[in-house]
Amino acid sequence: MLTDLVTKEEAQKMMELPGKVRGESFLGMINYIQEKKGEDELKGLSRELEKLGHSLDLNSIKKLDWYPIGLGAVYLTVLRRVFNWKDEDFIDMGVSIPNFSFITKIFMRYLSSSPSIFKIAPKYWREYFTVGEIEPVEWNERKKYSILRLKNFKVHPDHCLFLLGLLQQMGKLSGLKEITVQETKCPFRGDSYHEFIIRW
């Protein structure tokens, strides 16, 4: 079934993407699948990844170890193509990530106010990814929006959805209410960087 949907060559190409990501990102994804989608889907994902030459051993992944960012792209591709995940699923998974994150707990001291988490976003990003730079562009308290740019980061279109959820949850944790996040620019749509508008 899988060979028709994701090929080994495709997965290999994704694995060549430069950059690394913390293990807790994968643990968060696995935890989400286990709890929201069920044990069967997790086993299914594990089987499909093995066919592609990658293992999903929950016990061997360490929260703070670094893993190839391409592996994340492989996960997302399998979830989309094999398990028919919709956009909402990727967003929802992004929402759940900060809730499991050790790094978020360390950064909690900046969650005391929304502007402070906005300012600290580049540092927070670097704790998660070895590639890409977050740039806080604008914080408009009066009009209730902020703009963040993400440069030099092109991993997977579904990762953008994942980021929408992650940003939404970070905003919520910092005290913002009724948050909506929109990606207004995206390298997968021909732009030179990602741009996110967060409204509350």
Partner: protein, 206 residues
């Protein structure tokens, strides 16, 4: 100049961070006390295993939720928040926690305010002591005291009744003795009078 060799490298700092994370993780799993951490706006950001066991929630369900959902009396929670901001540490506040399945759990809460270097609140630590067993024992003890008090009261009532009865009998006995005495005297008086009459009659006949 020779570089200070004790200066930590990025690699050693990463190692320390991993060790710290492992330590927190292990300690969190071991801790039998239910603990959670919330942001200044009350969003749950951390829970340990005992907390999940107490509240019956899964981590994915409760993380990111407002602490309000765990309490029946939100006004009381607001008071607790104010008190914590004022005192920085609140110990042993008794409240009712609502578990996922709606069970009301009496808990004793300990709250500690977390502050940054400038003293601005950055969150709270909360610890929950399940009072169900203690309360149950207390209620059982109170029930036993109530039962013993009732038993004692009944015993007292019985004794009072007995007392009344015995005293009444005693009084009756005294009364009867008095009556006997009176009747005896009356009889003696009558006999005396009769005796006098007889002797006077004899005299007359003489």
């Amino acid at each position: 100049m020779r570089k200070n060799q004790r200066e930590p490298t990025l690699q050693s700092l990463e190692e320390e961070l991993k060790n710290l994370e492992r330590f927190i993780d292990e300690f969190s799993i071991f801790l039998p006390l239910a603990v959670c951490m919330i942001t200044p706006v009350g969003t749950i950001i951390y829970t340990n295993r005992s907390f999940l066991k107490l509240t019956q929630y899964k981590e994915i369900e409760i993380a990111g939720q407002d602490i309000n959902i765990l309490f029946e009396n939100r006004e009381e929670l607001e008071k607790l928040n104010k008190e914590t901001l004022e005192k920085k540490l609140v110990e042993g506040k008794e409240m009712i926690l609502i578990s996922k399945d709606g069970k009301k759990i009496p808990v004793s809460i300990y709250v500690s305010l977390r502050e940054d270097e400038k003293g601005a609140p950055v969150g709270y630590f909360l610890a929950f002591l399940d009072m169900t067993e203690i309360k149950k024992l207390r209620e059982e003890l109170e029930e036993k005291v109530r039962e013993r008090t009732k038993e004692l009261q009944e015993r007292i009532n019985e004794l009072e009744k007995f007392h009344k009865l015995t005293v009444g009998r005693e009084l009756k006995s005294i009364e009867l003795k008095e009556e006997i005495k009176r009747l005896k005297k009356e009889l003696e008086d009558k006999e005396f009078k009769n005796g006098n009459k007889k002797s006077s009659m004899i005299n007359f006949s003489e």
